[in-house]
Every structure is written in C-alpha cells, then in structure tokens.
C-alpha cells in the first residue's frame, strides 16, 4: 500500500525529516508516536502533498504509484486522506458545498457521474450518523467557529464521506471528549476494511485502546528510531521517551 524510503524534507533551511523509512501493508494499522516537534505532522503533510515542505531526498510509493509526483488533490483522489492536527477554518465556504465538490471530484477521477443531489444528501446523513455529527454544523462555513472537538469530528466525517484507502490521523484524539473519542474511534473502525490502512499519530494510549495498532513506531528527530508491536504503547505511556533517547545516545 505505502512504501516510504529514506525520506528527507525541509522547510526553508531547516531539515525536519532526516530519512524516514516505513512500509504499510493493506489492512494494517500503524501508530506513530514521538515527542513534540519530532516531525510527525511534517511527515503527514509531506505525504498529503503540502508544498511548503521541500522533499530533498527519498521516495514514496502508494499502490505502486510515485506519490511525490502527484499534486495534493490527486493524492487525495488516489485515496490518501489526512485528518489535520489543526483543521483549517475557511470562512465563506459552505460545508455542504465543499463536501459535494470534494465527493464529485473524487468520482470524476474514477470516471463516475456526479452524485445526484438526493443521493448526496442521503450519503451525508448516513455518514453524519456514523460519527454523530451535529447536522447544524453543515450549514456553517468549513470549520468556522467549530469547537476543537467539532473540528476533529468533522475530519473523520469527511474521511467517511471520501472513503480513502489510506487514512493518516494526526492527533485526532486531541480535543475530543470521552464520549466523542469512543464514537469517533468506532467510526474509524467501522470504516476499516481489509483493503484499507490507517496511520494513527497520537501521544496517548487512550486512542490506541480503541484503534488497535498492528505496529508502533517512534519518530524522533526526523527518523523512525524504534518499531515494535502494540506493547510498546504501554511502555511509552509509563516511561516516556527518555529511555529511547538514551538508547540512541549509547549507539
């Protein structure tokens, strides 16, 4: 599904990713953890095609295609979805209109006819229910004035609408209350199929209790420095990152 080889990226003169290697197979759930500023969000942004970051070295293949050669919108249409750590507010752009455009662009890419208004509304209602999204929010501008939790819900709701193959969830749990965390996680799990993969970026065990990872990575200073099974989560929760840093220094 996704293969990242020796990925380096910088912003301005500052190198942030310093050689990331990662392979995600269909159906797998990977968790990426790591201290603040390690480069986790940078990695997701680079995968999603954000242009402020310059890829200086490395390759990324998504379902056999050279992902880095595609513009952001085509990556999305190919099936890469990123749930933003900080979803952007877009005043003036109506949420429904925004979604309709996004869904139909996806369909067009696949050679499908645009959804009729009725079918679209039906789909929307269905997916809203999935994450218990307040329908009133749909009449507002994209994310404008949404609470922190509402924004995160809206991200997963969009994911449900777009049915991606690879979802990158960047700290989707932050801002969600206890109930919302459960609902959103269940939503993510419901959307999972043996063909889709998920990368979950988080600082806490609570999310991974719901979305259970197959593999856990620690990203530190622009590199993946540790990869293990799900038991690593509990260890990190208990001990923090210092021991990993020490381990690194010893090498």
């Amino acid at each position: 599904m996704l293969e990242i080889k020796d990925l380096h990226a910088k912003v301005g003169d500052k190198e942030i990713l310093k050689g990331v290697n990662l392979v995600v197979k269909p159906g797998e759930v990977h968790a990426i953890m790591g201290p603040n500023g390690a480069g986790k969000s940078t990695l997701s942004s680079v995968l999603a095609g954000r242009e402020v970051f310059d890829v200086t070295k490395g390759e990324v293949h998504f379902q056999g295609k050279d992902l880095l050669a595609l513009p952001a919108e085509d990556r999305a249409r190919e099936g890469v979805f990123m749930s933003f750590q900080y979803p952007v507010e877009i005043p003036g752009v109506n949420t429904v209109n925004f979604l309709k455009t996004a869904v139909n662009e996806h369909r067009k890419y696949k050679g499908l006819e645009p959804l009729a208004a009725g079918a679209f509304l039906k789909l929307m209602r269905e997916k809203q229910a999935l994450v218990e999204m307040d329908a009133k929010l749909m009449n507002r501008s994209v994310n404008e004035g949404f609470s922190g939790g509402e924004k995160k819900k809206n991200e997963i709701f969009q994911m449900a609408m777009l049915e991606p193959k690879l979802s990158i969830l960047d700290e989707t749990d932050s801002g969600l209350d206890i109930d919302a965390l459960r609902i959103v996680s269940q939503g993510v799990n419901t959307l999972k199929t043996p063909e889709t993969s998920t990368i979950v970026i988080t600082h806490y065990q609570r999310l991974l209790d719901y979305i259970v990872p197959d593999v856990v990575h620690v990203l530190y200073d622009g590199r993946i420095v540790k990869t293990a099974g799900r038991e690593l989560v509990a260890e990190l929760e208990e001990k923090g990152y210092d021991w990993i840093k020490k381990e690194l220094e010893e090498h």
Binding site: R50, A72, I90, T101, A102
Partner: protein, 451 residues
Amino acid sequence: MSVEKINKDFQDLFVQGKELLYNGVNDLMNEKREIAFNRFIEGGIPDKKNENYKNTDLSKIYERDYNVVLNYHRQDVDLNDVFTCDVPNLDTHLVLTTNGWYYARNHELSGLPDGVIVCSLQEASIKHKDLFEKHYGKYTISDNGVTDLNTAFAQDGYFIYVPENVILEKTIQIVNLMRANADLMSFQRNLIIIGKNSQAKFMVCDHALSSVNFLSNNLTEICAEENAVVDYYQLQSQTLKCSLVDSVFVNQEKNSNVLNHTVTLYGGLIRNNIFTKLSGENAENHTYGMYLTDSVQHVDNYTYIDHASAKCFSKENFKGVLDDKSTVGFTGRIEVRPDSQQTEAYQNNNNLLISDDAKVFTKPQLVIDADDVKCSHGATVGQIDEDALFYLRSRGIGAKEARMMMVFAFTNEIIGKIRIEPIRERVAQLVEKRLRGEDSHCDACKLQCNK
C-alpha cells in the same frame, strides 16, 4: 487635454444649451441648476489635488469628446421588448431609463398601493411640485464638482414617492440603459422618498447596450423618513468602454433602517460616491459593496457616513477581488459629530489581489468627536489563504477549483447581506459566472452588448 479645457467645455455647453437645459422643469430645479453651475465654474471637476479624488483621475474620462443630449431622444426599438432583465422567482415593478432619461414607453405600473408615485423627475417637478421642492437637492453635499455638474446638467431621471404607512411588497427594479450610436455623455438625477413607517425595496441595474463610449454622471437622493425601511441594491454591469460616476445621497430620519448594497461586476471606470447622513436618533445603516475587477478596469468607492445624531448604528463592508492590470481605490470616512453619543460605527475593506499587476489604494478614516462610541475600522490587502487552499486540495478538490471556491467564499460575505432571497441568489449566480470568466451580463439580455 487639461482640466482647464474640460471645465471650459462645460461652461460653453451650459451657455449654449441653456434654453434646452431649463426647459420642461420646475423653477426650483433651475434655480439650483444656476447655483450649482456657478459653483462648478469656481471649482471645476476635481483633479488630483483633491484629497478625495487621489485615486481617480476624472480628467482621463472627461477629456474625450462626447455627444450630450439635452432633450429626450426616442429609441428606435422598444426597450421593453429587447430588454427583460428578470430575476427568477421575483416579481418586480420595472422602470427603464435610457441615457439618463426616464423611458417614455415605460409600461404603466399596475397594482401600486394608493398614493405611491413612480414617474419621471421632470413630471414630478411640475405635477408634484410641493413634494419635489421639499426634497430636491436637500441631501446632496457639493464638496466636489461632480455633484454640481449633475445638478447643473441633469434634466431627468426617476422620481419615486411612497407615502406614510405603506409597505411596498414588490421590489421596484430600475434598469438604467445606455444605448447610442456615438459616444455619449449623460446626466441622470433621481429622487426617492420613503414616508414615515413605510417600506420599499429597489434593485438598480446599470447596463450598456451599445459598444460606444459612455460617460454617465448619475445622482440619486434617498430620503428615509422616520421608521422607514429601505433596501437599495445596485448592480453595475457595463462594458470596459463605460465610465460611470454614480453618487447616492442617503438621509435617514429617526429609527429608519437603510441597506445600501452595491455590486460592481464590470465597467471601465466606475466611481461610486455614497454619502449617508444619519439625521435622526436610532437610525441604522448598512452599506455594503463588492467589486470584481480585471483587464484595465478602475473602480473607486468613496463612502461617507455622517453620524449627525445620537444612538445610531452603521456598518460598512467593502470587498473586492482584483485581477489583471485593474486598479481599485477605497475611501471610507466615518464621522461622529460632537453630540452623537452612543454611536456604533464599524467599517471594513478587504482586498484580494490575484494578479501581478493589480493595484489597490485604500484609505479608511475615522473622525470622532464624541466619546461614548464604539467605532472600528479595518483594511486588508492580501492573497488567497494558502493553508485553506491546501486543505481543499487535500480533500481532492483541484487547485483551480479550490482557488475559485476561495475567491467566491471571499465575496460570499457581501452577497449574504442581500435581504431579498431571489436577488441574493441571482447576484450569487452572476458573481460566480463573472469569476469563472463567463459573460456576467444578465442572460436575459438579448441585446448587442458583446458584438
């Protein structure tokens, strides 16, 4: 050609055309004409030395030779037949003007409530003399030659009177049509009076139907009496060869509520002067504007909101998208007079630059002489927000479409201020078409605009 020469030409025109100019209207109108003309001779058309005309060089448009019609010219076709600018789902009273004159073949408006008058200004000046004299010229401020030029040369236009306690359900749609075989300069003067406790809505469209050069100097006075509610929408959709200097003077009495909304879709040079005087307590004013410019268009909005009375509220917002080599000016002055306590006045001007060569000059001003006030203004010049653009693209929306959505979203705030739904939808449609580079003129216009 110099400003002196332009001023001299106007003097000659006035002297030569005097007989025609004074013909067919009421004495008061001619008295004011004379005064305005004498003042014009002293000041002339505003040049670049005039602070309020720093952004717009009127001499460029006035130096061309135009024909001036000093009496009504018949059109060779029935404009009612060739021009139907209908807004879906909106039933309106339609009034046409041509080249500054009230169109002689306007259909009789049926179903107007008792006492409502819709007629030509000339007719009103004679038939409704008292009403006319009570209001004509009372709300204009002649601090620049543009106003005086209109008062000196305008002979006709429309007159609308809504008596007390009348709620006019239907929108009155006024379509100002410019149509001629040769370059033409016109002056149009309108007067709208909305009586106590009455309500009325207006939709004014400026269109050009021929591809010659036009220069219009239009002036509208609007008086909203106590407790009146007035919506005044203006849609400016002309051609690059058109120059329009449009002045609207609004006077608001106690508890009145006026919405003044101007959308500039297209034109060559457009200068809007919007003066609002809040004369009575608790008056509320909303002034909004939007301009979409490309090519070598020039749009300059000048607004002046005078809080002459206490406890009034005003909100103003102008937004524009500038493409190609177009240039834009904005001046917004809010004045709060010494005793106008408990004033609230807000103003905003935002500009989106989407080409390398577009230019904008914006000058908001607050002049505040009372202390119990809440006033603010803001002005921005910027580009499309890159973060938002990326967000849209990351959801699969193409870069071009995403950009469109962002620009449209930027203008949406202003469109959303339109209080009549069918008009709001219609304007949204026209704006979107305009932004997509499709012809934005009303679909219904079957005429020769683009030939």
